[in-house]
Each structure stands twice: as C-alpha cells, then as structure tokens.
Amino acid sequence: MEAIAENTPLLLQGIAYTVALTLLGYVLALVVGTALAVCRVSPIPPLRWAATVYVEIFRNIPLLSLLILISFGLPDVGLRLPYFWCGVLGLTLSSAAFVCENVRSGINTVPVGHAEAARSIGLGFFGTLRYVVLPQAFRTMIQPLVNVFIGTVIGSALCSAIAVSEITWVTQTLNIQYAQAVLMFLVAGAVYLGMSLGGAALGGALERAVSPGGDSERGRDRKALDVTAGAQA
C-alpha cells in the first residue's frame, strides 16, 4: 500500500497519460475513419482505392509493430516526434481503419430504399449521406464503435513499450522498485477495466437515447454487420 501512497502523483500522471492517449487516439480515429469511409463509398475511384489500401494495411499490421515503426523508425527518416505523439499517431492510424470498416458496414445496414428515396427527392451524394444514411447508420454503429474504443483503451497499453509513461509503464516501473507485482497489476487492471466498462456503459446509454421506441421491431430487417468489422487487436 505504501507503494501507492508514496507515488500517488506518478500514478495519477500515468492514468492521465492513458486517458489522454486513448481519448486523443479515439477522437482522431473517428474523424479520420469517417473521412476514409466516405472515400470508400465515393464515386471517385482513386479515393476509393487509396482508402481500401489504407484499411488493408492498418487493419492487418500489429499495433506494436506500427508503434515501433513510428517511434523508432521516423527519427531515421528525419521526423522527430515526442513519444507521446508517436503513441497517439499509432493509435489513430490503427483505430481509424476499424472505424472506417464499421462506418462502411453501418452504411450498408441502412435499407437501400431509404438511400433511393433520398436520391429521388434530389439529394446529392453528400446530402444523402449527411441527412439520411449516416444518421440511421450511426445507431447500428454505436456498439461496434464502442468495441473500437475498448480496442483503443487496450492498445494504449502498448505505448509503454515505446516508453510513454502511461499507467502500464508506471506500474511496471514501481513494481521493479517495490516488488509489489500483484498490487500493481490490480491498480493498472482497475484503470483499464474502469475505462472499457465505462465506455461500454456510455455507449449503451447513447444507444438507448438515440433508438426510437419499440426498437426490437426495427432492428429485424437490418442486415447483420460485417464479420470483420468487430475484430481488433
């Protein structure tokens, strides 16, 4: 216990770094991922191809490999970033690929008639997406996007391998100092569980808030989401 009492500021700083990594990575990933998804469904072939290549690369590269490549590789090509921002960049690049896939498959769950109806009243590509398809797709996307959030929380732990002093790094450093492995494991575990369960609860609440009444009826004719959309490491 004294290990915690004596190092409260350090632990709090670790928690702050974990939260900052996760939130920055996730929010940026939402923005980049949505933009990529729009590219993937757009009528401009080069944008479609570029977004597809992006997704295939960053969905399939292990996050640790990506983080190592960014933090140790970039200085060798003349780009110096603080390790913290390397972590944010890695998390963003990786999570954006999953966000893109989820948004795209979410778009596909919107009944095709709705898009047709939007087209027939004269809405263009962006109008159809903005006013008709995305708002509906968003509802089916909440759960998968919560999964991406949890993936980002879990992924932020890997930043300790590139010397970002987030909670995993802090607890392991203290562990070497105090040899209180179980206690430190519990502290870090509680932080991660709190964040992922908190995110899940928030997502659940959001889902209930935006779903129109008697939802079970509506969900039925929606197609199931892609199998790949949820898989993340």
Partner: protein, 275 residues
C-alpha cells in the same frame, strides 16, 4: 446502377451524366495527384535521410537474412498455433458455461470473459513475467507469452462461440426436442455442429488477433518475428528497413487470413440464402 444492387453504398450516387462524369474525372485526377504527391513526399523524406540506398534493402534477399527472419516467423506461427489450439476449445467451454442453466457456472464464466476482454494483454504478460516469480513459479519464456494469449483469446472467442450458439435457428432446438433428444444430446449433436460452422470465419479472424498479439514476444524476449527483428536491428543497424520488412510480413499474413475468412463467410451466406 444495377437493379439487383442491394446495399446502400451503391445508390448513393446516380450513374453520372456527361457533366458528372467530367467532374468525377477531374476530381479523380486531382486526388491522384494529391495521393502521388504524398507518396513522393514520403519517398523524398526517405531518400533525403539516406534510407532508400538500395544496399540497405537488397540485403533482405540474402539467404542468411531471410533464414534469420524465417526463424522468427516460425516462432510466430508456433506461438499462434499453440495458443489457438488451447484457447479455442477453452473458449467454447467458457461460452457453454456462460449459457448454462446453473448460476454457479454462469457467474464465473461471465466474470472471466468480461475481465480478460477489458484489460490489455500486455498487463497479463507483465503479471506472468513479474508476479509469478515472486511466488516462486518460473515458466519458460515461451509459456510466459502463450499462456496470457490463451487466457485473453479464450475470453474473446467465448463471445464468438456464444454468438454462434445463439444464432442457430430456434427450430433446431424444437426439432431436436421433438425427436426426443435431451438437452445435452441436442447440444452436442444438433446445435454445436451448426454453431461451430457458423463461427468458422470469426475464428479465422481470431487467428489474426492472436498473430498480432504474438508480437508481444518483443517485450518478453520470446523468439518470434517482431523480437527477431529487434535482434536483427541490433546487429545490422538497418532499423527502418528491418521493421518495414517485418511489418510487411505481418500485413501479408493477416491479409491472407482475412481474405480466407471473408471468402468462407460469403460462401456460407450464399448457401444460406440459396437453401
């Protein structure tokens, strides 16, 4: 657009007229220029810092370099295979426990699953690396990586199996009951065979996750590809090159596995709608 198209992405825009086609062409050219510009900028940055020197790249075609990385790849595949062989059946058991009638089975299984899905595997690895020795338990390094992989993967695949079991049509339960099968017989002979087939694509994707998780061998010094890359960097000093080659190997492997999973999924969906 074809009349048979049935996904929203295909009706977001009309078949373009002459004006629209011109605009698409213009935007295509513009985006091509931007994309090529970005790639060129990246390459220029590499060249500027002397990282494009062919001598630094062709070494990866030498037999001894390939053999060195090959040993790492072998390690990766071994770790992944062992973890999968133990974790998948374990995951199935957890799923069955979570769906069981008995609270005594349900509660621990649910706790296990939620716990290991909510914490990073790295933390589990550290627990094995640092906490167990404190209790006098020492394991070979290989198992320090594989056991955490099993614990975490069992939890995630349990959810996959649970979804599969729930996805089996209700009628199958009723039919099994109608021909006089008990709960257990129905489960073993009717439900599970169908559920396992349903989740096969997702299990292949679980392999992708395991393959990615195996990179943590880098942290615990288990001889797998990422760690072998680290060793190689310390010998050759070709940092960017080595890690790029290693990452490309992972990307290709995972890409192929994902393709197989998608093909399998599409085939099963096609069969389901046909039958």
């Amino acid at each position: 657009m074809t009349t048979t198209s049935n996904s929203a992405t295909q009706v977001l825009f009309d078949a373009p007229g002459p004006k629209g086609r011109r605009r698409i062409l213009l935007l295509s050219l513009l985006s091509t220029v931007v994309i090529l510009g970005l790639i060129a900028g990246g390459l220029w940055q590499f060249a500027e810092n002397d990282q494009l020197d062919p001598n630094k790249w062709v070494v990866y075609l030498r037999v001894d370099y390939l053999a060195f990385l090959g040993r790492g790849l072998l390690g990766t595949l071994q770790v992944t295979a062992v973890a999968a062989v133990v974790a998948f059946p374990f995951g199935l058991l957890l799923a069955l426990a979570r769906l069981s009638r008995f609270r005594l089975l349900r509660a621990p299984a649910a706790t296990w699953i939620e716990f290991f899905r909510g914490i990073p595997m790295l933390l589990v690895v550290y627990a094995f690396l640092l906490a167990l020795p404190a209790f006098g338990v020492t394991l070979p390094r290989f198992w320090m990586l594989v056991i955490p992989m099993i614990l975490v993967s069992a939890a995630t695949t349990a959810e996959v199996f649970r979804a599969g079991i729930k996805a089996v049509d209700r009628g199958q339960h009723e039919a099994a009951a109608a021909i006089g099968l008990g709960r257990r017989d129905a489960l073993v002979h009717v439900i599970l065979p169908q559920a396992v087939r349903l989740v096969l694509p997702s299990l292949i994707l679980a392999l992708v996750t395991l393959l990615k998780d195996s990179t943590l061998g880098y942290v615990v010094s288990v001889n797998e590809l990422q760690f072998q890359g680290k060793t190689m960097v310390s010998i050759t000093r070709y940092l960017v090159q080595t890690y790029v080659v290693v990452s490309v190997i992972y990307i290709v492997l995972n890409f192929l596995l994902t393709r197989i999973a998608l093909a399998l999924d599409a085939r099963m969906k096609a069969r389901a709608t046909a039958g």
